[in-house]
Amino acid sequence: MIRLIRYEFIKQFCKRSILALFVVFSLANLFKIYGEYKSYSFLTDGNGERSWHTLHWQLYEEYRGEITPEKVERLLAAYQPLVEATSDMTASTATDDPNTMTGNLYSDRNLLDKYFVTPMQYFYEYSGQSEQVANRARQSAALYGERGAVYQQRESGAIYNLYAGRTIPAFAYREMCNYYLNYDFSIILTLLLCLYGIIGTFVSERETQMDMLLLVSPNGGRKTTLAKILAATLFLLLTSLWFSLLDLIGFAVSFQTLEGLTLPVFAIPNFAEASVNISIFQYVLLSAALKCAGAWVIGMLWLLISMFWKNALLPFVINFALCMALIVSGAACAYSNFSKVLNPYSLLTNRVLLGKTEFVNLGGFPILTWQAAIWFALIAGLAVAVMIYFLSAENCHRCVWRAK
């Protein structure tokens, strides 16, 4: 069986066109990531002595690590005079002021504000805010307990468990992680590449009428179908993993750092309500796993649709349209918990699941949306795979044998 899977994998996915697309899409992805860095980071002004890039990393050495009162005081001692000097907007706008770090007072204030004061303030205040949430959740749970609302009590309990004790003890550079976690472009590339790879799995046999021949082979029929499903699964997982890895490499190379990966994921502002208490690096791994699950279930759907056609054109267009429908409906229903769970595309853009603490009610138990989505995806994917297996033509040898 393993040999069969290997053959199928080599036959279907080790084609020159797929490898060429892999290279082209990977390069496009890297260019896009570099474009994000150039467009959105303020640290792209070169390595000059007074550039933000140089100064930021110098200052960063001073403030990185555990947030201590001394560090906060030192930072505020540098920042407050700048705020006072620039508050009435009458300070000099000269760009060669020797008494400043960057050559300009406003620029100094902006540098400290953007990269040190605002993030450190957020980190510092976060534990208080999450404590407040935990307290409110505990009070709500007590209230629901009195009123006999069991589901709501459980939900509040789950929120309490998630938020109690959340803290961001250390200061680290978070810009790279912020853009990495909000990056979506590679999903489109993954989907296009997977679609191209998957579409030929059954169709190419039919186009060449090899499907008839396969049926007479002892390993043909459903055994080949199973091998195809497994080979396709392997391809989907590898493609998805590759782009997850490439994204991380791309961002790390563009921003020239891996700093921030040890921060908790809720250190990124739009993950303040994250439903997981893990570090960003762990989040990267979890996100890659969720992306694999999303790509796999969408891939199985494509495979199912493509097995009814004799050439690749219409299934490709239909699958592409299905994909666009999932993307558009995913964006339109981003606020509905159930549609998020049911839409496999949300596993690909998994911050809509992991970035918010949202539950769905399954039999009276609150299940976090990302957990529900992954279970749903696995069950749906398996169901579709089973359907493909049983809908495929049976081996003629076995039919004859069974008839006898």
């Binding site: 697309l21 899409f25 496009a28 260019f31 474009g35 994000e36 467009s39 959105y40 902006n110 504000d113 953007k114 805010q129 949430v133 935990a134 409110r136 709500s140 209230l143 009123r147 609302a149 709501q152 509040s156 309490y160 938020y163 912020n178 853009y179 909000n182 990056y183 979506d184 472009f185 489109i188 296009l192 679609l195 191209y196 579409i199 186009e207 009428q209 502002p269 739009n270 309500e273 056609w309 050439n311 690749a312 054109l313 219409l314 490709f316 267009v317 239909i318 592409f320 349209a321 299905l322 429908a325 558009v328 409906s329 964006a331 339109a332 229903c333 606020y335 509905s336 549609s339 603490t357």
Partner: protein, 666 residues
């Protein structure tokens, strides 16, 4: 029959090309009809009043028009003041009924078109920014017509099918080798290519024509000769083009783009000879630049995408403010006609080369033939089923009493609003325990952009309207944009189950995968809404401009002409309010009929189970009680009152003389 007609029959009939074309036309028309919303809802809502002003202002800006408009603004403000003064004088007995009628009649002639004035004044402010090329006209038709700034996916998919089939179908059954042995092989290839390109051109033109007809019929497309800058999306353009010419140019460019895409697909299909690879190259060459590159770069590339989008060729430069430094960042610089021409020429050269290559590859060369494989054309077009933004569930009948001037109360709960913190809390009337709304412990914890804007109670349900503003300042793809989402949540006070029954993003600017697009301003009013009530059929939102009714099934909006300065009451079917002439009025939400109570002239009122308590302006502001049909007025108090409020249990009036509260137990 000629080769052309054979090919026509093969591609359009047997391979169902016509079927796909008709499906694309049908889907586009249905989608357009189902999803279209006016770009400026005020112009549509008060069309007659707006057009009254437009008759006087239509065309270019002149000093006289501006002066007249400012004069009109002044007159309307004065008329509003005169009306309230006349009412005051009449109800306090200083003027006779005849004088009052005469004054009101005069005032009403000035105020007859006041709603339209708001829309026209906004347009005036827009025109004032550049009076040279911004004209007054009803913009809804043209703005709708030009609003299609994103890729037309139905057209894109049909081009993929039509163009990829042409040669790939021959390759898939190895007919290509046989065709090349035929004496007319070049002619056959030429026929195929010409036919495909003509069909794609016709399809794109047909879609443009359908849009033109649709907006022409629905809103009208007046004054095609006015400058294109009259429409907000082209406001910054420096090109001297009329509206009609702009649409023709855009249509021409889109047709060119469609044909260019078809040529690219024909070329790719001849090159790679495989369906899947042809289509994936076609999709990738369009979609990857579309999502991955900025518009600035897209409109410089000699690929089909910029021509398929086209709108950017006529747009002006745009920029956003840097979130940190406040400096402008150019997001799109205007494309000059010379640049467009250069891009067109370059694209046309690529186009010609690709056509030449396609024909060359299909010329006789007496290659060896292989056995033919029987070909079947299998076809079906999957329709995009796009889910609507949100749905409304049917709730139980609403028959609670609602007064916008006071917070609602049920037997078990009352709603308390804290003026200081601007938060709502739910008070259990039995225990006195307070619960903050919304119930989620996360609500408002990490963001200042989350708030409860209004609460409506209909025991055992409490409905609250939450607003959530998200800023994407740091986000990739949507630079510096914000989105506000308004939801109405139903909370069951017995089981504490929450269910979202209505949800909308209020901003007209949206972004998906970094592609920015705009929708009409239909839901913008939700941002300014400060109260709401509902029944099984509709939701009613109270804003300063009136009450907006939203049907729960088809989500159609309609502004009801109800002044919202005073109290608005609702009993599940009828809305009670005080109209412009101070008459207490009932509006039936089923029959959509308004009925002023002739004998009830009130300065304030409240709805209770017993009937309507009101402050009678005809009787020195004493408090009266009448039935819900306005009959059977009964004097309740001899003291003049300032206001009268019902809190679910008792009616409280504040005395005019000393501001003391007097309570009537029911």
């Amino acid at each position: 029959m000629s080769v052309f007609s054979y090919e026509w029959k093969k591609l359009m009939i047997y391979q169902r090309g016509l079927c796909y074309i008709l499906a694309a036309l049908l889907v586009s028309t249905v989608w357009l009809a189902a999803t279209d919303r006016p770009q400026n809802s005020a112009m549509e809502e008060y069309r007659e009043e707006y057009e009254w002003y437009l008759e006087r202002l239509d065309g270019a800006y002149t000093e006289e028009k501006a002066a007249w408009l400012e004069q009109e603004a002044q007159a309307i403000t004065e008329a509003r003041y005169t009306r309230s003064r006349s009412q005051e004088s009449y109800y306090s007995g200083q003027i006779t009924a005849e004088q009052y009628e005469r004054q009101i009649a005069e005032v009403n002639t000035v105020l007859a078109h006041e709603h339209g004035f708001e829309a026209v004044y906004r347009q005036y402010l827009y025109v004032c920014e550049n009076t040279g090329n911004r004209y007054f006209l009803n913009t809804n038709g043209w703005a709708g017509l030009f609003s299609a700034q994103t890729l037309d996916f139905s057209l894109f998919l049909v081009i993929l099918i039509l163009a990829a089939t042409v040669f790939c179908s021959e390759y898939s059954c190895q007919m290509d080798a046989l065709l090349r042995t035929a004496p007319q092989s070049r002619k056959s290839a030429r026929s195929k290519a010409v036919m495909t390109l003509c069909v794609v051109f016709a399809l794109c033109g047909g879609l443009a024509l359908i849009r033109f007809a649709f907006f022409g019929i629905k809103y009208g497309l007046p004054h095609g000769e006015y400058p294109v800058q009259s429409i907000a999306c082209f406001g910054g353009s420096t090109k001297n083009v009329s509206l009609l010419a702009a649409y023709l140019i855009l249509t021409g460019l889109r047709c060119f783009g469609s044909v260019y895409l078809a040529v690219l697909l024909l070329f790719t299909s001849v090159l790679v000879k495989k369906y899947a690879l042809t289509v994936v190259i076609g999709v990738a060459s369009t979609l990857i630049p579309y999502i991955g590159l900025s518009r600035q770069i897209c409109y410089r590339l000699p690929i089909p995408l910029p021509f398929l989008l086209a709108a950017g060729f006529l747009e002006g430069a745009s920029s956003v403010e840097d979130s940190l430094t406040g400096e402008p960042i150019v997001t799109f610089s205007e494309r000059s006609p010379q640049e467009l021409l250069a891009l067109l020429v370059l694209s046309a050269v690529c186009y010609a080369l690709m056509v030449w290559w396609v024909l060359r590859q299909n010329t006789n060369c007496w290659q060896s033939g292989k056995k033919l494989v029987r070909r079947h054309g299998a076809a079906a077009l999957g329709l995009l089923i796009l889910l609507s933004l949100s749905g409304c569930s049917v709730a139980e009948s609403a028959n609670g009493i609602f007064n916008s001037s006071s917070q609602s109360v049920s037997e078990t709960y009352s709603v308390i609003y804290d003026d200081q913190t601007r938060t709502y809390a739910l008070e259990n009337r039995a225990t006195g325990a307070l619960t903050d709304l919304a119930l989620s412990p996360l609500f408002g914890a990490f963001s200042d952009g989350e708030s409860i804007k209004a609460v409506y109670m209909d025991a055992p349900y409490i409905y609250y309207m939450s607003s959530r503003t998200e800023q994407y300042v740091d986000r990739v793809g949507s630079y510096n944009s914000t989105a506000t989402q308004v939801s109405i949540v139903r909370l069951d006070t017995e089981t504490f189950e929450e269910q979202v029954i209505f949800e909308k993003i209020t901003d007209s600017g949206r972004s998906l995968l970094g592609i920015d697009y705009t929708v009409g301003d239909t839901w913008m009013f939700l941002q300014y809404c400060y109260g709401f009530f509902l029944n099984n059929d509709s939701l009613f939102f109270i804003t300063n401009d009136g009450v907006t009714e939203v049907s729960r099934n088809i989500q159609r909006t309609q502004v009801l002409d109800i002044p919202t300065k005073g109290n608005i009451a609702f009993d599940g079917r009828t809305i009670y309010f005080i109209n412009e002439n101070s008459l207490l009025t009932a509006y039936d939400t089923k029959t959509h009929k308004e009925r002023p109570f002739r004998n009830v002239v009130a300065s304030d009122f409240c709805l209770t189970d017993q009937g309507l308590y009101f402050i009678n302006r005809m009787d020195s502001d004493c408090v009266y009680l009448c039935g819900r049909d306005g009959v059977g007025s009964l004097k309740i108090s001899n003291d003049p009152a300032l206001s009268v409020v019902y809190d679910g249990e008792k009616v409280t009036m504040i005395l005019k003389s000393d501001g003391k509260e007097v309570v009537f137990e029911l």
